[in-house]
Symmetry: C2
Subunit: 406 residues, 2 copies
């Protein structure tokens, strides 16, 4: 930890009866907990997974009442490095402008947890980790997991840390799906919830874009039917194409126009060839080539699949409102005007469902031309909204303001 | 020809001083003219191309005044089979509902020409054709061509057929780019022009989507640096991924939702695997796998590049209106509400530029939820618009109505 104010929580004095063991907390990767040794996770696909590992980062201190915990859920290609530099890329944490001492998600006030989701590749159990049954990487032997499974793995993490109730669960995109799943399934353990730039079910268009990415990966001969790790290969090219295809959907035409337009890359005239003539091409290629250095191709398959499978209404007789009946959770739903991947209309459907059960919900559509990625960027209206909501919720929760530090 | 009313034109009595020779007109592929033998095409890249072949289909009869010719320009993956079955897929012509005797583009009244664009793969010269200098397929030795080059090849075709002036030039998407280029560069040879679902310059977002497709093709080891035809391979997987990625952009979220939603494909429950669980996945895979049977991967690279390079303002000092100064052409600009690839705003910019030079222009934004593909589909408002515009223009041009057939 580079910032002394960001510290691991005091060791929880209660653990989940020996099902958790902490490994590697002294490494740069942060704590990795082995969970589910005695009680495997029952996955939605019917399989059982255990033991499994959850890697996470924690910031701030859990208070004596254990009432100030915020769970941050990351997106498809995100990870637990929400507020400190990424160990592979060296880039700042993906929400470092939001999370830290004195920031909107104030680590002087809150205890912030961010676990790497099940199925991912930054330390939590996923297809690149070793299958204890074979001693080799899971590859496609890893079970297909769901957003619900990700949440249940997080439940085990909280059980282990002795946190009965989250002050808030927050996340954007796939993180927002986890937020909705958390609040719907465990309303007694969630005081407030902030689903951002997300939906209650993955749309046909979004499934289609994900399928393109998966096909790009599976078309790469170096994917080896998913067994590339055992065969000493990596489907870099397919994964890069998948990333490029997805990346376009994270932006907006106005943002691309403003950022790149038709400007040429390091040249005065068109090359009449297939090099990256345009800045936007060069940018996309860069996005593809840097992504493959930090992400596992099979994880990309599994996590996109989990998102595709997400349909919160389906679990509740096809009626979304039923997912929230009697909910005590305070909601703040956020969307962005130029987000065409998770458009405001889908957030509005969540709000309508919450209104239908008389839930406590506020809804803000933030004006932004930055597309879906806006939730990761410096958007003052979004940050102000979040700050206001958290302050209000903290007051209701009786959480004191952070003490003034000398 | 299956329909007796669709016949080749009477042999033109004037040819372009021996630069054209007709080959293979008796084959199912339709006429293929070898042009530019004495006078090669000067391409925008600086290279010269000649001889080159233009394959085309013709429907109806050229009148004695040679004043009733309509040129139809096809889109990226289209071809000359506009009104009769495709020789590879066996499917109806891509505008068969619009083009034919008694239809909106009435082949009893008009002489309709549809050439395969330069760079494509259905008979016109492109990267898969034989390079006369080497006796082997061009591959990447084919010069990078532009929309302007495609138009100039069509100009040579018209010269050969003895058609000085087109009654109308019509096309959607990339076809619309050719329409704009025709009208801007050869206003004296175009009486009326209908650019549909198109733009005056390819946007940054569209360049980005094209770059994804190109990277998918070039990532396929069977692409062999573009030399696959000489090496007996075909980059089927990469081309299929490119097609899938592009195909999503041709539709709209509402259309995908209506057509597929989250419905499962031939199964009652999720498979918890990576097969095509959802109908939309199965549909996309089908789009990819059928496309590779009829399209050449290098052609895909070249034609997407031509679209990316298109910027009609750039050729005119950065001011689009300058492209149309003093134009005598009658324009009908058409866009579709749900087309997010070539949104109405871009058509409106064309209309504004035409208004700025006091051109004769009508503009219709057709309400449709079918996305960019709407221009290929049965959209009554679009068809009515086109019928009304053509009738009015024909009256001004003094073209008689089709004679009543017994």
């Amino acid at each position: 930890m580079t910032d002394p104010a960001l510290s691991q929580p005091s060791a929880p004095d209660r653990t989940d009866s020996g099902t958790g063991s902490d490994t590697g907390s002294e490494t740069g990767a942060g704590p990795r907990l082995v969970l589910g040794q005695e009680r495997p996770l029952k996955l939605d696909c019917g399989a059982e997974l255990g033991p499994f590992t959850v890697a996470y980062r924690a910031y701030g201190r859990l208070n004596a009442e254990r009432s100030n915990a915020i769970l941050i859920c990351h997106a498809l290609t995100g990870d637990q490095y929400v507020a400190d530099p990424h160990p592979i890329t060296g880039k700042p944490g993906w929400w470092q402008q939001l999370v830290g001492p004195g920031k909107v998600i104030d680590t002087d006030r809150y205890f912030v947890l961010c676990p790497n989701v099940l199925g991912s590749c930054m330390g939590s159990t996923g297809p690149k980790e070793t299958n204890p049954e074979t001693g080799r990487p899971y590859g496609l032997d890893f079970p297909v997991i769901t957003i619900g499974d990700m949440v249940e793995a997080q439940v085990r993490l909280l059980d282990h840390l002795g946190i009965d109730s989250l002050f808030c669960v927050i996340g954007g995109s796939m993180g927002g799906m986890q937020v909705l799943q958390w609040a719907a399934r465990h309303p007694d353990r969630v005081f407030s919830a902030v689903p951002i730039a997300t939906s209650w079910r993955h749309s046909a268009q979004n499934i289609a874009f994900h399928e393109v990415g998966r096909q790009a990966i599976m078309a790469d001969p170096d994917w080896c039917g998913g067994d590339y790790l055992n065969q000493g290969k990596t489907p870099h090219r397919g994964l890069a194409v998948a990333r490029m295809a997805a990346h376009v959907t994270y932006l907006s035409e106005p943002a691309l126009h403003r950022k790149f337009g038709r400007r040429l890359q390091n040249r005065a005239a068109l090359s009449f060839g297939f090099d990256a003539d345009f800045q936007v091409e060069s940018y996309l290629r860069h996005q593809g080539s840097t992504f493959v250095e930090r992400f596992d191709a099979n994880s990309y398959l599994y996590i996109t699949r989990a998102m595709d499978y997400f349909d919160l209404a389906l679990e509740h007789g096809g009626v979304l409102a039923n997912a929230f009946t009697g909910t005590p959770v305070r909601y703040c739903v956020v969307s962005f005007t130029s987000d065409w991947l998770f458009p405001t209309s889908e957030s509005r459907q969540v709000v309508h469902a919450l209104n239908a059960v008389a839930a406590n919900v506020s809804f803000v559509e933030v004006a932004s031309d930055k597309g879906h990625d806006a939730f990761l960027l410096d958007e003052p209206q979004f940050h102000d909204t979040l700050a206001g909501f958290l302050d209000g919720a903290a007051e209701h929760r009786g959480l004191p303001h952070a003490e003034a530090t000398p």
